[in-house]
Symmetry: C2
Subunit: 199 residues, 2 copies
């Protein structure tokens, strides 16, 4: 059984969807550890209620590299094979990424490269795009960059608010993230340049 | 009958689609003039073969503002009400845009704001996105910016080349541009910030 490590900073809605899909037999993996950089993240309590190991490694006041060494120790101890970011609000260091080459995934609520960063759904609405969606990508040292594994598209409706658009995208996030994890765990892809080709 | 002015620099494939849709009764408008800034643009000959008025106003060696005054004179003479760019490879000046406020449209072969500028399909392939498409937008002084009227989405396939992806997008361009022109001519929209809301 492949061992996932989840990093989060808040509720970790995508973490919950992954856990649901594992519980329902839709994803052949287990969550080996949930780590939050913020002790007060609701995702930690949610993990514990589900009987999953969950720890806080507070990042406050720590530089990126020393903090990432703590993170790596936590993941290594649990023999994590694939790291899934679920609303983890920090960039990862090059040293961290060297320890998990092409083994860190993130999901972002826009059709990247459009609208990276915070409040992607708000950005999309303000820009007036007619379609948005979500992107699962391999993580590199840059914000919401890295080779794209999967995307899903949703329409932006004329009367959308940030809330209604976010809800529509979130539904696709929950489906898409699990599918992307499955592709990576099964090794059904190759990377050419920054194109991820599936087979 | 609403009078369209077409600006192009090459073949103007989207111009031909507009002309086809007018001829087929799918768009209630007429092409009052086709203007190219390049005398050798194939679109000029294609227009003449269709019996449409077509002129060359060479831009070579002219600064933007003086050139745009020549363009405006050509459009005014033909009493053009809506200007449609169809592969017109120059930015328009503020003075031009003041003369046609919210009356200049462009189509771009990507889901803007992703991949503005040249070779958008190549950019999309290289970036490794899983969906691309086209965007019809009101033109402002910036490259491929301005409020978005319509977009259409196509998948990017694993074995796509620039040619195959471009062909898939082009089919959507031909449909989408005509629909956007219809919306503008019928006045069935309002603009809030940079969102174009249709009704």
């Amino acid at each position: 059984m492949k061992r996932l490590g989840i990093l989060l900073s808040g509720r970790g809605s995508n973490f919950q969807a992954i856990a649901d899909n594992i519980a329902a037999g839709r994803l052949d993996a287990e969550i080996a550890i949930v780590i939050s950089n913020r002790p007060e993240a609701p995702g930690l309590e949610i993990a514990r209620e589900r009987g999953l190991p969950a720890i806080s490694i507070p990042s406050k006041g720590l530089e990126r590299e020393p903090y990432d060494r703590l993170l790596l120790a936590g993941l290594d101890e649990r023999r994590v094979e694939l790291v899934c970011l679920a609303g983890y609000m920090r960039l990862l260091s090059a040293a961290f990424l060297r320890a998990y080459p092409l083994r860190v995934l993130n999901i972002h609520p826009s059709l990247l490269p459009a609208f990276p960063g915070l409040d992607a759904q708000h950005q999309a609405l303000e820009h007036g795009v007619k379609y948005s969606g979500c992107t699962v990508h391999f993580v590199d040292e840059h914000l919401d960059a890295g080779p794209i594994l999967l995307q899903a598209v949703v329409p932006v409706l004329e009367d959308d608010t940030v809330e209604s658009l976010s809800a529509r995208i979130l539904k696709e996030e929950h489906r898409t993230y699990t599918e992307a994890i499955r592709i990576v765990l099964e090794g059904r892809y190759r990377i050419e340049g920054r194109r991820v080709i599936r087979w």
